[in-house]
């Protein structure tokens, strides 16, 4: 039951992009076309689930050694090596998948959603299963927002936008309107 609550909270109520403001850079950067948005979403989901798993054990180790203050450094190292590892494995196992995901993978290291979810897992005191579920659900929430927004932006391309608002400003305003829609989920938690 608790897990269901975590999923609903991470996907809808506290959506990473729309309510917690994590992962805005890729959200604005790769949402111009639907297919790139799908590729990025898949890559992020994969890395966030794995990162939640690994950082859980790293955190246990840090607590055991009483060096929790090194958490930021340790987590970012884990995430960076994880991204590298995923890239190498993917290249060997499935070159086609690597080709479609390839360009997005290095970008994920600096996606604050990944480090963010690792930190949230620790702050909330989640156990192993809860951490992985939270990581995956948060990534699905990110994917949901990104894919919906890519659809909106494809429509924006073809509409008459005032000159001053063209490009990023109108995208941000559209995202604001989407965030209002996501506020509607607030009562669910």
């Amino acid at each position: 039951m608790n897990l269901v609550l975590i999923i609903i909270s991470a996907v809808l109520v506290n959506n990473f992009v729309m309510s917690r403001f994590l992962g805005i850079c890729p959200f604005l950067g790769v949402s111009k076309r639907l297919d790139t948005a799908l590729g990025m979403s898949a890559a992020v989901t994969f890395v966030m689930a794995l990162a939640s798993l690994f950082t859980y054990f790293v955190n246990l180790l840090l607590v055991r050694l009483e060096i929790e203050y090194l958490r930021t450094i340790a987590f970012i190292l884990v995430i960076a090596s994880l991204v590298q590892l995923v890239e190498i494995v993917l290249q060997k196992v499935s070159p086609t998948l690597h080709k479609s995901m390839g360009v997005y993978l290095p970008l994920i290291t600096t996606n604050c959603a990944v480090l963010g979810v690792a930190n949230i897992n620790v702050n909330e005191g989640y156990g192993l299963l809860e951490s992985v579920v939270n990581g995956t659900a948060a990534a699905i929430g990110f994917a949901l927002a990104l894919i919906l927004f890519a659809g909106v932006r494809e429509r924006l391309e073809n509409s008459a936008v005032p000159k001053a608002l063209r490009g990023t400003p109108i995208a941000l305003i559209a995202a604001g309107l989407m965030a209002i829609a996501f506020m509607g989920f607030a009562g669910l938690g």
């Binding site: 403001f21 850079c25 604005l28 290095p106 949230i120 109108i170």
Partner: protein, 204 residues
């Protein structure tokens, strides 16, 4: 001296991280619910930016090209840990309200971008000046966004009541949608002003 000055000015105006490059958007949107938060976040990022630029620049001959990104991230992570611990110790209230976004300074793309584009190729003084310029540009920009959101959303200016009974604060401005809306509109305003200035310069 002139070169240092123009490096600072470059970060403040022409390459303002928030309004021109649109980098570091997560903290820009997340912490700008109150003006003091904007100032605090901006100064924290400025500190990390200046020192990470300095160290990347000093170590640039020793960092192999292929592994430079992990090296940059390690340097940045060290300084954001310092900031995190200092804020927790000296300004716990600010640390509380910035929350998870202080450790997330590590993945602020402004810092990595400056390390890669400037500090890895220039001397320590120019790099520090660039870090200072970009940091202050970021600070001013997010403080501006925070002031607009705070005045409209909470009816206060740096904590002082400014409604004067004339208007009712719109809570949505300090919630998530307000962040996107205010940032989008200010971005459009800044872009228009800069374009007008460029046009005037070109005409002269």
């Amino acid at each position: 001296m002139n070169k240092l000055f123009s490096a600072i000015k470059n970060g403040l105006l022409d390459e303002n991280p928030t309004f021109r490059l649109v980098l570091g958007t997560c903290p820009t949107l997340a912490v700008t619910t109150a003006a003091w938060n904007g100032v605090g976040m901006g100064l924290a990022v400025t500190f990390v930016l200046v020192f990470s630029n300095l160290f990347v620049s000093l170590l640039r001959r020793f960092i192999p090209h292929r592994v430079r990104i992990p090296c940059f991230i390690l340097i940045i992570a060290a300084f954001s840990t310092i900031v995190d611990l200092c804020l927790q110790a000296f300004v716990p209230a600010l640390s509380e309200s910035l929350g998870i976004f202080i450790p997330l300074i590590v993945v602020n793309c402004i810092i990595l971008a400056r390390a890669e584009a400037v500090a890895y190729q220039h001397g320590p003084l120019i790099s520090m000046a660039d870090g200072l310029g970009c940091g202050l540009g970021f600070t001013i920009a997010i403080t501006l966004i925070a002031i607009v959101r705070e005045v409209l959303g909470s009816g206060t200016f740096f904590g002082l009541d400014v409604t004067g009974g004339v208007y009712v604060p719109m809570a949505i401005m300090v919630k998530a949608p307000g962040g996107f809306l205010v940032y989008g509109l200010l971005l459009a305003a800044f872009g228009t002003l800069l374009a007008a200035r460029r046009k005037k310069e070109a005409d002269e």
